[in-house]
Symmetry: C2
Subunit: 225 residues, 2 copies
Amino acid sequence: MVKNSNSRREDSLTRERIIDASIDILDGSGESGLTFRALAQRLATGAGAIYYHIDNKGDLLTSACDTIVARTLQTTAPDTTPRDAIRAAALSMFDAIDAHPWIGSALNQAPGQLPVVRIMERLGQQVAAMGVPEDAQWSTVSALLSYILGVSGQNAANAHYGRARGVDRSTFLAQVATAWSELDADAYPFTRRVAAGLREHDDRRDFDVGLDLILNGIDAAARGR
Amino acid sequence: MVKNSNSRREDSLTRERIIDASIDILDGSGESGLTFRALAQRLATGAGAIYYHIDNKGDLLTSACDTIVARTLQTTAPDTTPRDAIRAAALSMFDAIDAHPWIGSALNQAPGQLPVVRIMERLGQQVAAMGVPEDAQWSTVSALLSYILGVSGQNAANAHYGRARGVDRSTFLAQVATAWSELDADAYPFTRRVAAGLREHDDRRDFDVGLDLILNGIDAAARGR
DNA sequence: ACCTGAACACCGTTCAAGT
DNA sequence: ACCTGAACACCGTTCAAGT
């Protein structure tokens, strides 16, 4: 903080600048667009220079993800009920993944790493505040976290799939809906029944409803004994 | 079925043989071990020959995953309560992912594809049997599916991480636990408190508890109105 | 200490050529 | 119809050489 205050040279290579450039590339071209060559070109440097500041590609992706997660959780309302705080944090994560789909994939590749821990910590503090007994807090938080990461991963995969095929999200969902409606009627009655509605479903609302289901279960267990 | 009954030539290349070989490689060397070159060598053929039977690597991975998922769901007990049937299906999926960690990753890369649909269909039929009203079935199934896929993905990532570092699962978890216990005490009280217990936690039991939480929420909602 | 960029050891995929 | 295997267009990562 004190010494080496601001980088005098505007173009000096720092870990922060590398991560910011990575986020730009990831937002613009998706996960497959982030290569060391593309990154080096954007930063007007050599590919090898990046390794002076970054361990490897996994480190780069996790750090970029962590920047977004930290930013996202920071801007979440603090003084509400624990349950509302969990919901607010989860929904703001959903929105962040909607805006940066690659995060969903990055989170699922970084078990126990900082970005996941940030989410876990937020959940854990609020689960404790909800009155969940101490010996049940871990599994409760795990359940919430798994649910959030599961939705994240699927959203990321949907975005990735759509991008790869060069179609937008809704046309991709329409293709899936068509495929589902053509499945065998005896073996897949539920999937066929649900296929038609797939197009007009609101993912964010579905996420919220599922969250409510889990929170109800937690509340019941916390009050139950 | 009728014509071309059994491949006369023991070594003729078929889609099925390719997928079986892929499963062997994935089980033995993980996702990064599955390359077209390694596969071609194992099948004593050229790399390009595989493309005559398989669209691309994604298709290959999804198909290999689907083989395991189909096998897994097939061997699940049929005549129990809907709730028990959901639990049995989910736990057998957990065990399958434990045995073949790459499935967790494959499932999360194949949204709306056959292996995921198989799980969804199973869940959907039992959710309907639980008495969940029709207009709530989709979001209910989505919640269960997201939870299962979330746990899958994390298990797969844990296995992948461990393999990459050349350590087994428990030493990897021990490393994570150490890192967690060294986090800032003010910012990460929950994570630090939980770090010590990470080593001896039973993932399968945690998964079961979380599942119960969601199923309780579903039961309450189904009876509630 | 920090950066350069060629080189290494791989990938998935294609495609002319074979049978 | 099915297979071969060289070739193409990439990757992440390393490392001698520069400043």
